[in-house]
Amino acid sequence: MTSTSVAVIVGGGTMGADVAIVFARGGWRVVVVEPAAERRQALGSYWTVELDKTGHGAAAGAMSAEAKMDDLAWDNVAIVVDCAPERLDVKRVVFETAARLARADAILASNSSGFPISQIVQGLPHPERCAGLHFFMPAHLVPLVEVVSSAETNQETAERLMTIMRDLGRVPVHVRRDLPGFLANRMQHALAREAFALIEAGIASAEDVDAAVRFGFGFRFLAAGPALQRDHAGLDVHCAAAATMYPSLSVATQPSSELRDRVEAGRLGMKTGAGFYDWTPETIAAERERYQSALAAALDIIADDLPQIRPLEDHR
């Protein structure tokens, strides 16, 4: 159902198109700003197909796309989410324009994973209403959203973003400092650093590292994160193990040569036919299908723990 509040998503690429779906499912009027005509015109049919999958087909009527931020009416816009290309100059123009056009009480958020919000809005008026709002691909399927405060973001902005995301059926987490990688990616990279260090040192193969995660502690993460898991297992046990292990864990400050060498050799993964593993178009297709269906099944497992999408309240 269409309603009072308008969400403006700047950028109609993969991320922007999916973030738009998240808002539309919750009853927002969503306007995506995408300068490229071809991409803009493709959005409608993509949205219809994706929304139909979850029974939200009617919400497609509340979505549209415009070429320029100046082309839309701003009086009802409660939130702007920047999903523009990852270039600082582009993002600064988006925020300058939004700051000029939007109501004083509208929230201006950026989905950027590369630039901290403090850097994007530096020198702009009212940085207190700006925050990071970091989705994970595909944004309309992965429930986690990081609400990232800079030193200047005020509490009200962060709280309103958390509420809006919860009402949209997402799982928001509040990150109180805009460190590189925010919250989830920092932990993901901490694990990856150790994984590649083990491969580099010849202690385990890439296959065995993958198996140790997927068939060992990895699938437990669907049931409990590291803190809750320790409550299950006992903190004393974990603390003792940590004391033994931490001294030998990787503290590398550069990416592992396992990564760097492959990047230099053009072994970038499926897109170049080889990465840690070798790929053919057939094995890529089969792997993608297996991966997608495993993710869908995983989502089903956590579905009951997700917030319900709530009817839209006035988010002005």
């Binding site: 159902m1 309603s3 009802n76």
Partner: protein, 324 residues
């Protein structure tokens, strides 16, 4: 014999043509319908249009595509529908009050709401509220008018723009109460309210949904509403009419129009589904979120409303003189 054949042939052909037209109308709509919103995406008319489009689409079991055609204060989109085939497949989400006002502006839009369109039905209306900066020493409409009367030309009123219902509503009040306030036009509601909150202007009319959050947060003071009855959105607030300016009423009306010449079977069917839509609780609730009171009714009600809006605003504009 030849004569008979020819005549019969003619009759058959005629019958076939009539049957095709009748069938086409009975089958209406057999394809996608476009509802033109003559304002930009995200604005009030756009949001109302999308609620109406969704409701109509559900009732008609057909896709209703909303097309934004902004420009020239709504006139570009209205003209586009005026010139479209009158077959029921192109409709206008009319901002009836703004269109009526535009008909009397120096740059006439090139359409006449009364003759260039068929009515489909009213959708609803949005009331205005009279609000002041919080530190203005008035508590009600009477004291505001007394203050304005004692200090002619000293109070400044903001509006969403020259020629907007918000602007002309205040001109109407000035005439009715015989007071003088100075007009400060803004580009839209948001900057006008921002300056009222900041105390740079003293008073303004704006739509109830636009002022509501600021009234509730105490950033502005509300004195009265412009609807004929008190507003459910601002409980306890008197109407301007009941607070001393008899007969005063300003609302922003919305309704669906079709190009002149659209068959009555089509407009009548659209009126029935529009009314069915406007009685659904979820549609009423969605419109309420936008501050719109749904107004189902016969097509004649829309025609009568258009007549009265045109007459009302013509009088205001003639008295107001230059629209600055």
């Amino acid at each position: 014999m030849y004569h008979w054949m020819k005549q019969t042939g003619c009759t058959v052909a005629l019958l076939a043509t009539t049957a095709t037209v009748a069938w086409a109308q009975a089958d209406y709509p057999s394809r996608q319908v476009t509802l033109v919103v003559p304002y930009a995406a995200g604005g009030a008319t756009d949001i109302i249009g999308r609620i109406v489009a969704q409701g109509l689409g559900d009732e008609l079991n057909q896709t209703i595509v909303v097309q934004n055609a902004p420009g020239a204060g709504g006139s570009i989109g209205a003209m586009q529908v005026m010139r479209a085939d009158p077959d029921g497949y192109t409709l206008l989400m009319g901002a009836l009050t703004s269109h009526s006002i535009n008909m009397h502006l120096p740059t006439a839009p090139g359409f006449d709401l009364r003759t260039d369109f068929e009515t489909v039905g009213l959708a609803g209306s949005v009331g205005l509220a009279l609000v002041t900066r919080t530190d203005l020493a008035v508590d009600d409409l009477k004291s505001l008018l007394a203050e304005a009367g004692a200090n002619p030309g000293q109070l400044a009123y903001a509006s969403a723009g020259a020629g907007s219902p918000q602007h002309l509503g205040m001109e109407m009040l000035k005439n009715a109460a015989d007071v003088n306030l100075v007009h400060v036009p803004y580009q839209g509601s948001a900057p006008a309210i921002t300056d009222l909150i900041g105390g740079h202007v003293d008073v303004m009319f704006d739509t109830i949904p636009s002022v509501l959050p600021h009234v509730n947060s105490g950033a502005v003071k509300a004195l009265a509403v412009t609807t004929p009855e008190p507003s459910p959105f601002l409980e306890g607030l008197p109407t301007v009419a009941s607070a001393g300016v008899e007969g005063f009423e300003v609302q922003s009306w919305f309704g669906v129009l079709a190009p002149a010449g659209t068959p009555e079977t089509v407009t009548q069917r659209l009126n029935e589904v529009l009314n069915a839509t406007l009685q659904k609780p979820e549609i009423i609730a969605a419109l309420e979120q936008q501050g719109v009171v749904a107004s189902p009714g016969p097509r004649e009600a829309e025609a009568a409303l258009i007549e009265s809006e045109i007459a009302k605003w013509q009088a205001v504009i003639e008295t107001a003189g230059s629209l600055e």
